[in-house]
């Protein structure tokens, strides 16, 4: 009899014989359970936003019900008073402008640090990065005083400037990595053709790292969109963004769950789309390029 010694495939998760399907099944079960845990709060949020008040306050919870869209309408299209629509508009404006500015300034800085070597360049890069980790609650106190003295309290401009500064460090650090990856020869060729450095940055280097610029921009937008503390302290009414609307719920005596959950759904929706789309780039972005 011939001895059949077929080596098992080189797999990290090699297991013996008939145990394998059982083990895969177990792993799948764990994964499904984890996904269920991750998704459950979303399910509760969305269903609460579609429930009527008696259903929201029911004990035991109501699992089957006719969804109503009234909460959304109440939150966003109230007659009189300030609707969430107003906050939504502020959020969109502040997020869009601060993201564009941060990507613009940050990519310039990143290019400068990637392509030119000068004494202290490393220290400047690390200084820029470390500003990203400044605890907002510590910096919001002096920033509040500064913004008040300059007379920018309760303006969108104040939030735009603060968010741009917060995101510039992130963009600089991430995009510097992308610029370093570009072969130098391409830019040297452009230099020989008589382009100036600024032109090379704008017309050659930046287009080459477009995918990186877009994903970095989306991460910046998510940050600006979600930011709460500065928004709450630096605005009172005219420039308040969605998180400020949601924060009104805290400490209020009447719990208007329906409307706040409806606004919560709208506040989370664009970010979920971004997370879904960014999946592959999330790791590099969220670890500042340390893990890819």
């Amino acid at each position: 009899m011939r001895e059949a010694t077929i080596p098992p495939p080189a797999s990290r998760h090699r297991s013996v014989g008939h145990w394998r399907p059982l083990r895969t099944g177990g792993l799948l079960a764990v994964a499904v359970a984890f996904v269920g845990w991750c998704v459950f709060p979303f399910y509760i949020m969305i269903t609460t936003a579609l429930k009527t008040d008696p259903q929201i306050f029911a004990w035991p919870p109501v699992w089957l019900f006719h969804p109503v869209l009234r909460n959304m309408q109440n939150a966003f299209f109230v007659v009189g008073g300030r609707s969430a629509l107003f906050f939504l508009m502020n959020s969109i404006i502040v997020t869009a402008v601060s993201t564009i500015l941060a990507v613009l300034l940050g990519s310039m800085t990143a290019y400068g640090l990637a392509r030119f070597h000068f004494p202290g360049d490393r220290n400047i890069a690390f200084f820029i990065l470390s500003t990203r980790f400044a605890p907002p609650v510590a910096f919001v106190i002096p920033t509040y005083v500064l913004v008040e003295r300059v007379g920018l309290l309760d303006t969108r401009l104040a939030l735009i400037i603060v968010y741009t500064a917060a995101n510039v460090s992130f963009v600089t650090w991430i995009l510097r990595g992308f610029f370093v990856d570009i072969p130098k020869e391409i830019e040297e060729a452009a230099l020989v053709d008589g382009y100036r450095h600024i032109e090379i940055f704008w017309r050659v280097a930046l287009p080459l790292i477009k995918p990186g610029v877009i994903t970095t921009g989306i991460l910046c937008a998510v940050f600006s969109w979600n930011e709460f503390l500065y928004a709450m302290i630096l605005t009172q009414s005219r420039a308040s963004t969605l998180p400020v609307y949601l924060s009104q719920f805290s400490g209020s005596t009447t719990l208007v769950w329906d409307q706040y959950m409806a606004v919560g759904v709208i506040a989370v929706l664009p970010v979920l789309l971004a997370a879904w789309w960014l999946e592959k780039h999330l790791v590099r972005g969220m670890t500042f390029g340390a893990v890819r």
Binding site: A10, R12, H13, R14, L27, A31, F34, C38, F42, I44, M45, W59, L105, M108, T109, G112, L113, A114, R115, I124, A125, I128, S130, F133, A134, P135, P136, V137, A138, I141, P142, Y144, V145, A165, V168, F179, K184, H197, I198, N226, F228, L229, L246, S250, M261, G264, A267, V268, V271, A274, A275, E279, L282, V283, M286, T287, G289, A290, V291, R292
Partner: protein, 288 residues
């Protein structure tokens, strides 16, 4: 000539960002230190009064301040440790090549970038004592109606759970990426040396994913240390959940004592700076 042109280019590229960061990071930092030496009221009643180091002296006699640091450290240690253990384990689970794993992994990432305030809102509802879904689930399995958010220790645990919900997927996907980047030949070499599965795990896999785990650990520690949204939405500092950020916030903007809050902020910045230095030392600065 060439040299001055280069310098001008560099100034145009880097100057604006440095100016912005100086105005919004360096200046506030020094203003914060300056404010911490004064009695500085939010209500703007007359000019701030110089106190010297009195704010700091009061701070270290203030049991609420000392407690808030303890609560914060406990919150950070509990949530980050749970996230690391769960996330790393799940990274191994998700690197199984079973069908459907990739889609499951993608869905599980959804909590990561959710507005923290909304996460707080939803978990506040889930833990509500009279109609919260989690409260009901615990009741249904016979644990009784647990007053999650008003009981000492339990309230802090609820904040930890909300933080773990939001960030475990990130830890998982970072460790997952690190696992994927281990080249197959490492395992082949290990096999040739006759290592058992367990030895492969301890001598090859874990040492190779350690740098990624350390980076995400420090990042998470910095991030959860400064989290204020969950406390803001779920407990407002009650039931033993007064973290340092919440205490600073309430001292400054509820009690209106900006000077004292600024002194606490200086202490907090020192804490974070130490953590940041650990992190920054581990990030690669690649040269072109």
């Amino acid at each position: 000539m060439q040299r001055t042109a280069l310098r001008a280019t560099l100034a145009v590229l880097i100057g604006p960002s440095l100016l912005l960061l100086t105005a919004l990071n360096v200046a506030p930092f020094f203003l914060g230190v300056y404010m911490s030496l004064y009695y500085w009221s939010l209500a703007n009643l007359g000019p701030p009064r110089f106190l010297g180091l009195l704010n700091y002296e009061y701070l270290f006699a203030d049991y609420r301040f000392i407690d808030s640091i303890k609560v914060s450290l406990l919150f950070v240690v509990l949530s980050v440790a749970t996230e690391l253990v769960l996330g790393t384990t799940l990274a191994f689970v998700f690197s199984s090549r079973a069908r459907g794993m990739a889609s499951l992994r993608r869905i599980s990432l959804l909590p990561v970038m959710v507005m923290p305030l909304v996460a707080g809102l939803v978990w506040f509802y889930l833990f509500n004592p009279t109609y919260g879904t989690v409260t009901w689930l615990c009741y249904a399995v016979g644990l009784g109606r647990i007053p999650f958010l008003t009981k000492d220790w339990l309230a802090l645990l609820c904040l930890v759970i909300a933080d773990v919900w939001q960030w475990t997927p990130l830890v998982m996907v970072v460790v997952f990426a690190a696992l994927q980047s281990i080249p197959e030949y490492c395992y082949e070499a290990g096999k040739m040396d006759g290592l058992s599965q367990r030895q492969m795990l301890w001598r090859i896999t874990l040492p190779l994913i350690r740098p990624a785990i350390v980076v995400i650990m420090i990042l998470r520690a910095i991030d959860s240390f400064r989290n204020i949204e969950l406390v803001y939405m779920m407990t407002r500092g009650g039931s033993g959940t007064e973290t340092l950020p919440w205490y600073i916030y309430s001292t400054a903007f509820i009690d209106g004592n900006l000077g004292s809050a600024a002194a606490m902020a200086v202490v907090m910045v020192l804490f974070v700076t130490v953590l940041t230095q650990f992190l920054v030392g581990r990030l690669r600065y690649r040269q072109a």
